[in-house]
Structure formats: structure tokens, C-alpha cells
Amino acid sequence: MTAQKERLIVVGNGMAGIRTVEELLARAPDRYDITVFGAEPHPNYNRIMLSPVLAGEKSFEQIILNDRAWYEANGITLLTGEPVEAIDRAARTVTSLSGRTLGYDRLLLATGSMPFIIPVPGATLPGVIGFRDLADVETMLEAAAKGGRAVVIGGGLLGLEAANGLALKGMDVTVVHLMPTLMERQLDPSAGTLLQRELEARGITVLTGADTAEIIGGGIGGSERVTAVRLKDGRELPADLVVMAVGIRPNIALGKAAGLDCGRGIKVDDAMRTSDPAIHAVGECVEHRGVTWGLVAPLFEMAKVLAERLAGGTEAAYAGSVTSTKLKVTGVDVFSAGDFSGGEGTEDIVFRDAARGVYKRLVLKDNRLLGAVLYGDTRDGPWYFSLLKDGADVSAERDTLIFGQGFGGGEAASPAAAVAALPDSAEICGCNGVCKGTITAAIRDKGLTSLDEVRAHTKASASCGSCTGMVETLLAATLGDGYAAAPAVKPMCKCTTHGHDAVRAAIVAHGLKTMSDVFQALEWSTPDGCASCRPALNYYLLCAWPGEYRDDYQSRFINERAHANIQKDGTYSVVPRMWGGLTSASELRAIADVVEKFAIPTVKVTGGQRIDLFGVKKEDLPAVWADLNAAGMVSGHAYAKGLRTVKTCVGSEWCRFGTQDSTGLGVKLEKMTWGTWTPHKVKLAVSGCPRNCAEATIKDLGVVCVDSGYELHVGGNGGMHVRACDLLAKVATEEEVLEYTGAFLQLYREEARYLERTAPWVERVGLDHIRRRLVGDAGGRRALHARFLFSQSFSQEDPWAERAARGVDRHEFAPLAELVG
């Protein structure tokens, strides 16, 4: 037998306590026999990620830091759902609520904090909660599932994260904040105002300078529950749920009852020792040099010091922390660090770009950075923070300091170059206090090759995750070609790491209404995207917000800007619409006249039964359109990612085999679908009998008329890979054909990726999925069709007429100047 191990009891299964244990295991794995008491029923989880759980961006499983297997593997006894009730310092024992008494040699108190509940009447009513643990999140999710109204008291970090999460879950949210601007402890008034505007744009009501007087309850038969919040100025805000997020109070009850020295928190020295040398404390429950802490970075710094001491070290000492904060509200970039209150001897450097929603303020004193507030563009936060922590002299770069680290003569440095330029001492992971040198050394020395390994070995990016990108960049820079990031999805383009589906989902989920919203929210790496992502985003926004989103002209390919097809010599071709392939003498005469008048060199009948006029000079386009419009013709959209043609055969009107009026149905389909914007071009066809003269079974949607009705075929094309359609359904009436067609196109519009035709889309999602949505779910089909018609109500305007008669986009067709001769 070896010597008896020392017994370490940890009270508190949260981030500070378990981080101490982790650090201790790394230093002295066999020294202690460890028992952990946790009041919550869960294993150790990442409390700062509760906001993303509330917002639905992460699941609880994803924020577990150490599962039960980890405790077992390390020989730790974990007692969850078992709060400790008493400490007997003389006997060196703790006793839990369930009556269990265990002896210790060393005791660690990591009891954290409690949300501060302001003592107004009604504060204890059911439906009034804090935002502190998973149980609170569950209460909020339950309330949100019923919809209704939420009032969040407190416009600080936690309050705003709660408000955002509840709003995303569909509640009508009002934030009540006592101070004149939001997050006044982290942000100056300018940034606070920008933040308020952003939240209001997301539909959250923000009341500043608002003091809560009373929480009102109601209900019948003793089921009294919160119904409203009354402010001191008399306003009454109806509420089904009230979240108090006005601050936290160190949880000192246990320490105080045991007779430890307490102020606002349990008092500790630089070695994290309480007034009883056998008892230590870390985290939010402590008061160190008169200060209490509520952010994660200081807790981890304390944990490191204490682990060192528990492992037998005598040097490690905690001397307080310099902290920075970020708001975990997706799409709102807020960063602040240090002291920005200004005051004597300080100077401000301020950068403001209202159009981009970017605000930066740096506070300097004696040529050293004292504080930083960044809103809208927080990329340089870590760099400013490292300058601030190091107390670096910035006089040499003062002129360009506000533009950030990448600034070097106007060219924006790549993120890789920016990270490469950081000194080894620069802090990469603010939560865990991990600097660049530690990460690169671990990658080199331990042969790490993945993000997970770096997280496991260094803790970098293992908490809030906002530095994940930088850690990946370091991996790539250190390993060179050896590092292959595992992109689960292919990014849309080089401007982003997100795939098409994720971007589409974010546009809808976060209510992103403009392209710059998308760039900001999803952290695009370029200021205004590229020729690949911009047309895609323009389409996604147009599809998501019909009638609301304003089409971005400069994000259209030239064919869609000029409403004609650019050809190899820079001339254009023009296709007037012929409904269902029908034309008339007057239309043909107008076409012939246009051909002669503008000396159009080539006239060709297309595969879609329309007439294509080739070789039109760009400056002639408006005049050509005007003449065609005069004969009653409109654009055939042959240039569009939209409905091109509806090809038909003659059907029952003339054909001896025809079973239905295929031409007439083709005209109806074309009248319903023209002008739509789709992920790629769309072609329809109607054949009057199974001889299929209109080749309907290689179209995006083809109708084959039969005696008993109509067969609907989808997902075909005659492109590079010819694909015959799949049979979707058979229907009896023309009305059903129209409804299915609208619903199919809308499903394609909402789900396919930009530039993905229906054939690859059908193959990717599977015909079963499309059948389920369109055939198996009649209500869903009608809703899709209704959404299609709603969107069409904004898009069926002839673009030629707008330009020919009303001079829309005139600049497109005329030179700026002619200096010839």
C-alpha cells in the first residue's frame, strides 16, 4: 500500500472548481483523493454558453465540458444534485443536504454566485427568474414555446443575451434598463446607442432610464403568476415571463456560516486561501483585494494559481485580472477592455462609420492603451487587449492605431497574416488566458493536428469559442500543408467559412435583411463580398423577404442587369416572350421590323420555342425593347435565373393524339410563373400526350397530359448531364397542375443553393423529401403555393418596359463620355 492520499473536497461543480481540478490533475495527478459536490443535477458544463443554448444555436450536450466518464477516468467521486449544507472546520468535515458527511484535508469552495433579485414587491412570483443555470434556460424555453411577452430587467451582458435568445424563440421582448445606455459598464454611450439600435431592429423593445417599481401578479384560484411589470413612472408592461439580470451576488452563505472572513465575497489572499488555511476558494464566490469577479478569464487565472499551490508550489500568486468582454449575441460584435471612462490626462481616438455600423474608441494615457471599445468590427480586439495588458508604448503607431493591426498602407491584411504578425505573448484565448506562444509550442512539441487536440492540450478556444478561427489559423500556420481543416460543409466562397445552407438559415433565423447585415453577422472576410457570393446572397435575401428586400443591382450578373444575354463579342441577344410558344402575325412583323431597323445579324429559334435576336449593341437595347413592347411583347427573361420558357405541343386543339389542351395549359403556367427569381434557370413544358413532343420529361417541371389527367414530372434537364425527370404525382385538374407547380417552384426557391438546378437539387435532397412536402402534405403544398404567388406579386413587372419607357437604369446603356475624334 502506498501512503494514504490527501482528501480534497470541492464544493461546486462549476467552471472555476472543475478548472482547478483539471489544472491540478495536470500537475499532480495522484496527490489527492477528490470528491466533488454539485448542487445542479448535471455534470460540469460551460455556463457562459447558456446564451447560445437559449438562442437555439447549441444543445446542452454541446456545452458539457466534462462528462461523467471523465470524472470516473480520473478517479473523482462526483455527487450531483447534492448541495453542501454545513462545514465543520474543527472536525474538517462537510455535510450535504441529504445528510452525507465526508472528511477533508483540504477543502475548496467554488460556490459561484447567485443572480441578484431586486427586492421589489412581486419579485418572488412564479414566472420571475434569474439567468444563471440550465434550469433557468429550461424555464425560459418553456415560456417561449407558448409565445407571449417577456420583460428582461437589466440591459447588461446577461440581460441582452437573454433578451436576444427569447426574441429568437418568438417572444415579444422588452428590456428594462435603469441606466441611460445599455451595457454601460462595458460600453461608452455611443456604442451603447448603436447596440440599442441594433436590438431594436431585431424587434426587441428597449427602455432605458427605466426603474422597476413592482412586479404584478394575477391569476385565478391561487394560480397567481406574473402578469406585468410596473415602472416607477407608472408605465405598466404586460409580461408572461420576467427575467432579472441585473447582476450577480457571490454565493457566500456556506462560507459565512462556517465562520470564514467574508466581505462581499469569501475573502482570499493571493494564494487563494481563506481565513482558514485548510480552506481555499476560487471563482465568483471570492473577494480578492476587495474585488469580486463575474467573468470567466479571472476565474481561470485563479484556478491556475490554486492548482499550483495545491500541487505543492509555493510561488504562484494571483494579482487580479485585466479583463475584456464580448457580447454573445450572434451578429452583434461588441468588444470592450480596460478603463474607458476617460478622465484627466487621457486622450481619446475615435473612429466612426455610421453606414457600416462601426464604432471604435481607444483611450490612451501617456502613450499607453488604457481602454478600448469596439462595436461592429471587433477583429482587432485581441490585439488592442494585448497592447493594453502589456502596457505597450504605442506612440510609434499612434497615427494608425485606430485602423487596427492589419493596417499597412491601405491594403487589408489577411487574417492569417494578422495572426502570424502577433507576438508570442499575444493572448489568443481570452477566456482561458492562453497566449500564441503556448499554442504554437503545444502544436509543435506534442504533434497536435486538430482543433480538438489544441483544445484538449491548451484549453484555447474551449470556452466561449470566439477565438476558434484564430486557433485554426495558428494550426494552419504552424503545420503548413500538414493541416487540413475538416470543413464539414463547403464554404459559399472565399469570403466566408459558411456553406450556402447555413447562410440561408441564418438569414431567416436572425432576420438579416440586407447584404451588409449578412457580412456583419456572419463575419465575412471581405468588405463587400465577391462576384460569387453577392449574386447568391442577393437571391437568398430576395427569396426570404419578398416585397421587403431591395434588389441589389450591382450584385447581378451583367445579363440580369442589362436584361439581355452577353455574347462572346460583347454584343447582346434579346428574346421576347411568346406565351406557351404562341405568336402572331403582328408579333412576327414587329420582330422582323426590329431586325431590319437595328441591323440585327442573326435570328434563331431557340430550343424553348422562342425567337432569339443576336448581335444587338448594348446601347441599342432600350430602343429594341421599346419597339417590341409597342407590339405587346415583354422580356422573355432568357438571361434570368428564373422562369425561361414553357415549351408546349399543340395538344387536343389540333393534334389527333392530343388528350388535353397542352398549349392552353402552357400559357397558364407561363402567366403564373414568369418573372420569378429562382436559384438557377427554370424551364417548364407541357406535352399533350405520352408521345411527349414537348420533351416534358427532361424539364425542371414537365406536364404530360393523359386521358385521365396530368402526370407531373420534376427534376429533369438537358444540361451537361442529361437527366430524365422523376414522376412526382398524377393529378386530375389544371388547377392542381398550377398549385403543384407553384409549390414545387417555391420549395426549390426556398431550399436549393444558388446556381443549383432542380436536377442536382432533387438528387441531393431525394425525391422522397419532395413527395413528402408536396404530395403527402396538402396543407404544406397550399402554403408553398401561396408563398409563391405572394412573391410573384412583387416580381411580375416587365423589366424591358421599365427601361425602355421609363428610363430605369439609363446609365447602364450610355457611355459616360465619348472622346473619339
Binding site: 471581405t526 468588405p527 463587400d528 463580398g529 465577391c530 462576384a531 453577392r534 449574386p535 443591382y553 450591382q554 450584385s555 447581378r556 450578373f557 451583367i558 442587369r561 442589362a562 452577353i566 462572346k568 460583347g570 446609365h811 457611355p815 459616360l816 463620355a817 465619348e818 472622346l819 473619339v820 475624334g821
Partner: protein
């Protein structure tokens, strides 16, 4: 040095849409004037070094334009094609005074064709 260059006024910055372009017809061919999202203005010969595509018809992003014919990306400041493509669209010096754009047509550097040209 400036006196040596002949500047020709061609229009105002406001005549070019942001992230768009306009064409100036000149004795040696069309010149494409581009205006970026941040209101910088650049001028290139309106011919992609690849197959002569009209760069003025491309999508402008950052300080680059993507040719409408085959998606070559061209640097607006220099006319150089972005690697791996090689070639240069001729570049014309631009001056802006009080929102009025002038070109130094005599000082233009003619373009070189790309790897296919």
C-alpha cells in the same frame, strides 16, 4: 511632373454607380471607369486580357472586377489578373478634383494579353 500630363475631364464620380462602372469611348478603344464601394475610382482598358471581355460589364467587389465572360478577376489599381491567371488590362491614371474625374489618356499603360492571348 504633373504639368507634363494632359488630363481630360470625362464626368463626375456621381455619374458612376457605386460598385459599378461606366465606359468612356476614346480613340484607342473603350476605357472602363470603376467606382468602388468606398468611392475610389479606377480606369482600365475595357478588355479582359483573356478573351477581350468587356470588364465594364463585370461585378465590382473590393478593388477588383470579375470579367463577365469567363470570371477572370482583375485588380482595378493595376489591371493585373489575379493569380493563377496572367495578363494585364491596360491602366489609365485617374485624377479626381471636386468630384470631377479626369483621365491621363496619354499616360496609359497598354495591356498585355493573358496566357491564352
Amino acid at each position: 511632373m504633373d504639368q507634363m500630363i494632359a488630363w481630360t475631364e470625362v464626368g463626375s464620380v456621381a455619374d458612376i454607380p457605386r460598385q459599378g462602372s461606366r465606359v468612356v469611348k476614346t480613340a484607342f478603344g473603350d476605357v472602363a471607369l470603376f467606382r468602388t464601394a468606398t468611392d475610389e475610382v479606377f480606369a482600365l482598358e475595357d478588355r479582359c486580357p483573356h478573351k477581350g471581355g468587356p470588364l465594364s460589364q463585370g461585378i465590382v467587389h473590393g478593388r477588383r472586377v470579375t470579367c463577365p465572360l469567363h470570371n477572370w478577376v482583375i485588380e482595378l489599381a493595376t489591371g493585373e489578373a489575379v493569380a493563377p491567371d496572367e495578363g494585364c488590362a491596360g491602366h489609365v491614371p485617374v485624377r479626381i478634383e471636386g468630384g470631377v474625374i479626369s483621365l491621363a489618356l496619354a499616360a496609359r499603360t497598354p495591356g498585355r494579353g493573358g496566357c491564352h492571348g
